[in-house]
């Protein structure tokens, strides 16, 4: 074990953890804003109570997303200083734009929303939550543009004197085709998570605690299931396009997604494989003919390049070395992502069906599935990130910089290990606290009718209002 391994583990752990909170922030913001808009339009207090209730869950989660996000920004410099030196010219700009355009918007307007219930005119107050939500969505765009540059570097030239890339076209970086498709894909994932949260919370109230505020919870349940379902459709649609772009810009990643070693035409897709331990030879597989060719190119009989051929090609292009990612990881993370995502959509559909014409979901298994529903898109998102980042290895910037050359040379193993352990421990502790708090508030149910929240009121004294401290 050396500092490089620990730095990689730390990046993986802190990023996966950060992204458990981010999708809920990004997805739930617009949903809470929708409830408040419905209240604004109809005057029906039902929607105001839903706004306060889900607003509270949103804020508990938001805090975690913010504080774990600061770690991400510092981490590039702390553990990956050679990477930072190398890419700063290109990568720094979207990062700085994210802070300047998105984070200021998000945090300032959220502060106005939380504390402004009585201070701002209703219409302006409604605008603050939408503005904060817009900030969150923008931040996702900029960070994905930065990440997409690592997957598919564009808009730069290599400076022969420094050996480093220099930005030549910011527009090319922001309209990188990988960024343009990854953004809606990730946004859809965020809505899946948020919709699934609505389903889980409201199905609990509808099916397990019937009687109290059933009409409100039934509305949230239907709304959440619809959001999840539509988002699933969007994620399948965007994922399909994304796969084709990936085949074009990172063929090795597509080959590794299927563990396709030899180039095939037509190529089949395996739903399940048992292979040898190193993943290089299959023992048993369920195969769907033509499917990989179709996913990769849109043409069911087209040729899909295999890992071995790409390895030969890259070794000739970049010099000797191993240019394949860890294939079992990419193979399974891809399947977990697709499988969990589709399962979440299917459950959402069943939940909707179970509510048809005023019925109440009663099937025990469906209720159970609804209760754990948020875990599915969260698991799918995690798997998706593992796939896209592990699938890029050994590169940190595809075709330009190897991950092992990006690590901080001046940072010792002891230092990285200290920070890795510190973050892991504190993150684990906070996960428990935040999880219990979310459960507590989710279970408590909707706040009483009116009174408007008061900023100076302690939350527990006036239960579950969207007021603050």
């Amino acid at each position: 074990m050396d500092a490089l391994d620990v730095a990689r583990w730390q990046f993986g752990v802190t990023t996966v953890y950060h992204f458990l909170f981010v999708p809920l922030t990004i997805g739930l913001g617009p949903l809470v804003a929708t409830f408040q808009t419905l209240w604004h339009r109809t005057g029906n207090p039902r929607y105001l109570r839903l706004t306060h209730f889900y607003g509270k869950l949103f804020l508990i989660n938001f805090a975690m997303g913010v504080v774990t996000g600061i770690v991400q920004e510092f981490q590039f410099g702390m553990n990956w200083s050679d990477y930072s030196r190398y890419v700063g010219d290109v990568f720094g700009a979207p990062l700085a734009m994210e802070a300047l355009l998105a984070f200021f918007l998000e945090s300032t307007f959220l502060g106005l929303w939380i504390f402004g219930w009585k201070k701002l005119p209703r219409r302006i107050h409604l605008a603050t939550i939408w503005t904060a939500a817009l900030g969150s969505v923008l931040s996702m765009f900029f960070i994905l543009a930065a990440n997409s540059w690592m997957q598919n570097p564009v808009g730069y030239r290599m400076n022969p004197d420094t050996g480093r890339p220099e930005l030549t076209d910011i527009w090319a970086v922001l309209t990188n085709k990988v960024a343009l498709i990854t953004f809606p894909h990730t946004l859809a994932a965020a809505f899946m998570v948020a919709g699934a949260l609505l389903v889980a919370v409201s199905i609990w109230h509808v099916a397990r605690r019937p009687g109290q505020d059933t009409a409100e919870h039934r509305f949230a349940l239907r709304f959440g299931a619809w959001v999840t379902l539509v988002a699933t459709a969007a994620i399948v649609f965007t994922g399909d396009i994304q796969g084709k772009i990936m085949t074009e810009v990172q063929p090795m990643k597509m080959a590794a997604a299927e563990a396709l070693y030899r180039t095939e035409a037509p190529a089949s897709f395996s739903a399940f494989t048992i292979g040898t331990l190193d993943g290089s030879r299959e023992v048993f597989a369920i195969k769907l003919p033509y499917l990989l060719s179709f996913l990769a190119t849109g043409n069911p009989t087209a040729s899909v390049q295999g890992i071995d051929d790409l390895q030969t090609q890259y070794a000739a292009q970049y010099g000797p070395g191993n240019y394949a990612p860890i294939v079992p990881v990419t193979y399974w993370s891809f399947r977990v992502m697709v499988g969990l995502g589709i399962a979440a959509g299917a459950i959402a559909l069943l939940v909707l069906w179970s509510q048809r014409r005023g019925r109440t979901p009663s099937n025990r298994w469906l209720v159970r599935a609804g209760l754990v529903l948020p875990l599915l898109p969260l698991g799918a998102s995690t798997a998706g990130w593992l796939f896209t980042e592990m699938g890029r290895q050994p590169w940190i910037v595809f075709g330009e910089l190897l991950t092992r050359n990006g690590v901080s040379r001046s940072v010792s193993l002891t230092e990285v290990l200290t920070s890795f352990l510190a973050f892991t421990l504190i993150y684990a502790l906070l996960a428990v606290i935040e999880g219990r708090l979310l459960f507590r508030y989710a279970r408590a149910g909707l706040p009483p009718d009116e009174p408007e929240p008061d900023e100076s009121a302690g939350d527990e004294d006036v239960p579950a209002l969207a007021g603050a401290y």
Partner: protein
Amino acid sequence: MDLTTFWFGAIAFLFVGYFVLEGFDFGVGVLMRTFGRDDAERRLLLGTIGPVWDGNEVWLITGAGAMFAAFPHWYATVFSGFYLPMLLILLALIVRGVAIEFRGKRADRAWRGRWDLAILVGSVLPALLWGLVFANIVRGVPLAADHDYAGGLVDLLNPFALLGAAAFGAVFVLHGAVFVALKTTGEVRDRANALAARFGPVAVALLLGFLAWMLGDVRRDPVAVALGIGAAVAAVAALVANRRRREGWAFAGTAAAIGLTVIALFTALYPAVLPSTTDPAGTLTVANAAASPYPLKVMTVVAGVFLPLVLLYQGWTYWVFRRRLSVTR
């Protein structure tokens, strides 16, 4: 003025914003348990920074992001070189941010007591550590010829940097006390005013000591000296205003003292961004740490459009929440 100098100035501006704004909310965090004798008072104190503290913290995110974009080598060396202070700052900001949001979410006393402690620790640590970091930046650290940090933790704990830590910490506490006096009524306001009067001279003495050492010994620069004198005058004026219970002026004084100190520090540093105390070839300057001209141009346009907008809507937030808060029981 070339773009690298402009961006050096822009980053100085962002850190001025960060320390002037988050400075008082660090101070409020440190003093919450002292000023707030019961839960209602502590909620009141948190309420004074509630709508703004998160936005204040974005000044740091933007400052660091701008360092990354405009001076990648500066960003890379500072964050990897000051590893353990940065780690502690991160851990403190994590705990603090969560504590502020979670404290009020349960009525139970033990729960709130634990988060109160977390807010205290999470506010003290970064207040001190930013002083340590910036004092070391202006003083210089051991750097190798390739600009990588070549020292250890001990090199960061020199007397000048420790004085910097004490001065930043103390001034933020004073700034916080003055802010509380400005934003509250009744007993809490009186307590804040009294504490600022008693503790203020200590904080200002530490600041003056730091300024004198920095400008008289570490980096001599006539413009920086003038700015440093301005900072000292503002700090003393803040104490006088606080004695006369002119709270708005006192707050303007501490804010100006912090702002001018940071500007003096950056001015004294220029054109270096991180001097090397060992190999002179290791010194990072606005020239050798900078990104290429094109991204600097892009960032200039973006900042030119959006920074005024940020100032506008953050200013509006402070206007919306301009009223003093009083305890509701």
